[in-house]
């Protein structure tokens, strides 16, 4: 397949995944904002949404302080923010349009419909309820795309690049949620394990649709290290770093087999997966969750570059 085609497929899936993630961030922020204020954390939920999105500089330059209106606007609708939901859907569609020949009509239509429907929205007249519906809609658009890929797309190298893009993006997103929670969300005065802390960790679980999963797996009240275990090491959890890594390594293995050649991307992916498989959550907490997560985000970005160099350029 053309390298450019592979590149577009990879980014198509990344942008759809990112749109879904942004919707989840916004949803979590709305939920946290519904907490009684007064505990020193007022407004922090909107600020943390900006922190997770990794766009603080651009946001501050354009809007100054973070509040509900500005964050909603910036993360969902802003033309100038390259990672707004709007621009993610636009970029997904542009990539899809460039490689229509490599997509089934169902996959194309899922992306094209999402874009057409987004354009029919009335952002200005959107109250809280309408915005909540918009968030739901965004997540369902991503599911429609995933479903179309899963149900109709030929399991060839093109499929592998779609899966790679989604898994790399998802791994990055999960890591960011964890990091921001640990270092930015919790005010210094608040005790770890306190009420606010509890609420925030459970919000993180909701953010990745894992609250019920948590109870199934651990059968315990919410504990930070178990949440981290679920999101980092648990292979049953589809958004965990270990799951994403397994997916990435698996897709790269298939590509290596199909093309009869393994390269730096395969070696890097195998190394990451190996490490995540042998690690225990206690070790991660001992050497620092923040350090681990930052290290992982870098490693994931290097892996993305290795994939690009090996296949997409």
């Amino acid at each position: 397949m053309l390298s450019r085609t592979a590149d577009s497929l990879y980014w198509l899936a990344r942008y759809v995944e990112r749109a879904d993630f942004l919707a989840r961030i916004l949803e979590a922020a709305m939920r946290m904002a519904s907490l009684p204020a007064g505990d020193g954390a007022a407004g922090a939920e909107w600020d943390s949404a900006i922190a997770i999105s990794d766009q603080r500089e651009a946001f501050t330059a354009a809007y100054g302080a973070a509040d509900e209106q500005s964050v909603r606007r910036f993360l969902a609708f802003d033309h100038a923010n390259p990672s707004s939901i709007r621009n993610c859907l636009a970029a997904a569609r542009n990539n899809a349009r460039a490689v229509r020949t490599a997509l089934t009509s169902e996959v194309w239509e899922s992306v094209n419909d999402a874009w057409n429907q987004f354009n029919a929205l009335d952002e200005k007249g959107m109250d809280m309820q309408a915005f909540a519906r918009f968030i739901e809609w965004t997540k369902s658009a991503a599911r429609a795309f995933d479903g179309a890929v899963h149900r109709t797309q030929l399991r060839n190298d093109g499929h592998a690049f779609l899966r790679l893009g989604a898994a790399i993006e998802r791994a990055d997103n999960t890591a960011r949620i964890l990091d921001v929670k640990y270092h930015l969300l919790l005010p210094a005065s608040e005790p770890v394990g306190g009420g606010l802390d509890y609420f925030q960790w459970s919000t993180i679980l909701r953010e990745v649709s894992a609250l019920t999963a948590y109870r199934w797996v651990y059968r315990e009240s919410i504990k930070p290290w178990l949440v981290a275990d679920l999101l980092i090491l648990n292979r049953q959890m589809p958004r965990s770093l270990a799951s994403c890594s397994a997916d990435i390594a698996g897709q790269l293995d298939q590509l290596g087999q199909a093309y009869g050649r393994r390269g730096p991307a395969q070696r890097a992916a195998t190394a990451t997966l190996g490490r995540l498989t042998s690690l225990r959550i206690e070790q991660i907490f001992q050497s620092g969750l923040h350090e681990f997560v930052v290290g992982f985000i870098d490693e994931n970005a290097r892996l993305s570059n290795a994939i690009a160099e090996q296949y997409l350029l």
Partner: protein, 478 residues
């Protein structure tokens, strides 16, 4: 202007109440009269939805807002009888052969110029002439693999060639999608008519491309479609054709030339390319030979072409043949290369380069259509009968300044075809663009083509860039 010939009702025109339909339209007429009006409204909405959903859009230059627009589709088919089509097909085959002979000649011995059939400066001074092609002999001596001829009808047996599109004719995807939509919307109509299929076009195109693989190629030929990219107005068509043929849709940056051979960048490393169906103009093909600032092309492509390792479809330099000034010499060129008269005549044309003709044209501007020799898509033309006095004055000035740059034709009463409008069914002017494929093995003409319709009452401009629509075109298999 006299009443136009109507495709459905004939010479009498569509104006007469209770007129009987022509034979080819009899079944359609009966069926339409039996159906309630709401039925057609519902079907029209379905058609629009279908086109929107599959994403057939057309980018119009200079319209930033409606960056992607649907070309209006009219659900009343345009029908051509099998007998009419036989003549058209023979005429098109002849036309394609002559255009190819002419191009091989002008980049080779130049017999037509030596014999005085056509003025030397019109050929060698032509904007479409590429001197590089005197060093290239395209594989199998074919220049125009894909010809889109624009035909107009002015009477029962009177079809004219209005224009030849010998560079990169577009519209074939609409021909195919229109049929697809019609078959979904009106299966019962197809059961009542034997309509010659057009769905074979992508296979025919692929067979044509594979047949013209360069002599030097020692592998199973690899063909690609080269597009300027998603922002090109015809990108939908490029991607559609690549998809239907099962070949790669490449941009210039996907290709590179090494040791005078063309390769594409793939996830498995470089892969050799033998045939390039390019939808990129000559000037942008190779920055080393043509426009150096072109980012759409492939550096070194012309060197590979010259070395005979790749076939470019249509050949570089084919633009000489679809120039509107050269067009005026087609009847003579047909006679010169085949010894026969043109089966499909030209529209009578005044060459403004000739002083007598210019004088006549200047005197009769309000009744003529004047076209720029190098214009296309309906831009840069004057339609005398609908132009204002000042538009005519401006054009007269342009004409006097550069008579070489223009030709003029009588305002033809293009045939009309019943079309759904705001006020119900009404006659609208149509033309026809059939597609002719010339391969090393044979010539393939798809029955029918793209019927374009001027949706504005009385308008003769059918171009999609200027608000024209399209219809499905049926050739009856009799």
């Amino acid at each position: 202007m006299t009443a136009a010939f109507d495709e459905m009702f004939g010479e009498a025109g569509a104006a007469i109440e209770g007129a009987l339909p022509r034979k080819a339209y009899a079944a359609l007429d009966k069926w339409m009269k039996a159906a309630p009006p709401e039925f057609f409204d519902a079907r029209r909405r379905q058609a629009e939805l279908f086109f929107r959903r599959i994403g057939i859009t057309f980018a119009v230059y200079g319209e930033a807002e409606s960056h992607e627009r649907l070309i209006p589709f009219d659900i009343v088919p345009r029908i051509i009888s099998g007998k009419e089509w036989k003549t058209i097909e023979a005429g098109l085959t002849q036309r394609a052969a002559v255009l190819n002979a002419f191009l091989a000649d002008v980049y080779g011995p130049g017999e037509c110029v030596k014999a005085g059939i056509i003025p030397a400066e019109l050929v060698y001074g032509n904007a479409g002439y590429r001197v590089e092609m005197t060093r290239v002999r395209p594989p199998h001596d074919i220049f125009v693999h894909i010809l889109g001829a624009d035909l107009v009808r002015v009477g029962e047996d009177k079809f004219y060639v209005l224009e030849d599109n010998a560079r990169t004719p577009s519209g074939v995807s609409y021909m195919l999608e229109n049929r697809e939509v019609m078959m979904r919307l009106f299966p019962e109509l197809f059961a009542r008519h034997r309509v010659a299929p057009v769905e074979t076009y992508p296979d025919s195109l692929l067979a044509t491309l594979r047949s013209v693989t360069p002599y030097a190629s020692d592998q199973d030929p690899t063909a690609v479609v080269l597009t300027p990219g998603p922002y090109n107005s015809a990108f939908y068509e490029h991607s559609f054709l690549a998809d239907k043929m099962g070949v790669e849709l490449v941009e210039g940056s996907d290709l590179f030339v090494q040791d005078a051979r063309v390769f594409m960048r793939t996830t498995e490393g470089p892969r050799r390319v033998d045939v390039i169906y390019r939808r990129v103009d000559d000037d942008f093909l190779d920055p080393l030979t043509f426009k150096p600032e072109s980012a759409l092309g492939v550096p070194g492509l012309m060197a590979a072409y010259e070395a005979g390792t790749v076939t470019i479809v249509n050949a570089v330099g084919a633009g000489v043949a679809d120039d509107k000034a050269v067009y005026t010499y087609m009847p003579e060129l047909v006679k010169f290369y085949t010894g026969q008269d043109a089966i499909l005549p030209n529209v009578p044309t005044w060459r403004c380069r000739e002083p007598d003709a210019l004088a006549y044209v200047l005197d009769h501007l309000p009744e003529l259509v004047v076209k720029e020799v190098n214009g296309s898509g309906g831009y840069g033309m004057l339609v005398g009968p609908t132009a204002s006095k000042s538009e005519i004055d401006v054009f007269a000035h342009k004409l006097r300044k550069d008579p070489q740059g223009f030709i003029a034709q009588p305002t033809l009463a293009l045939s009309t075809c019943p079309t759904f409008t705001e006020k119900g069914l009404a006659p609208r002017h149509v033309d026809l663009r059939p597609f002719v494929l010339t391969g090393a093995d044979k010539v393939r003409v798809t029955p029918g083509g793209l019927t374009r319709v001027a949706l504005t009452e009385g308008s003769l401009v059918v171009n999609s860039s200027q608000g024209g629509g399209t219809k499905d075109t049926w050739v009856l298999d009799e």
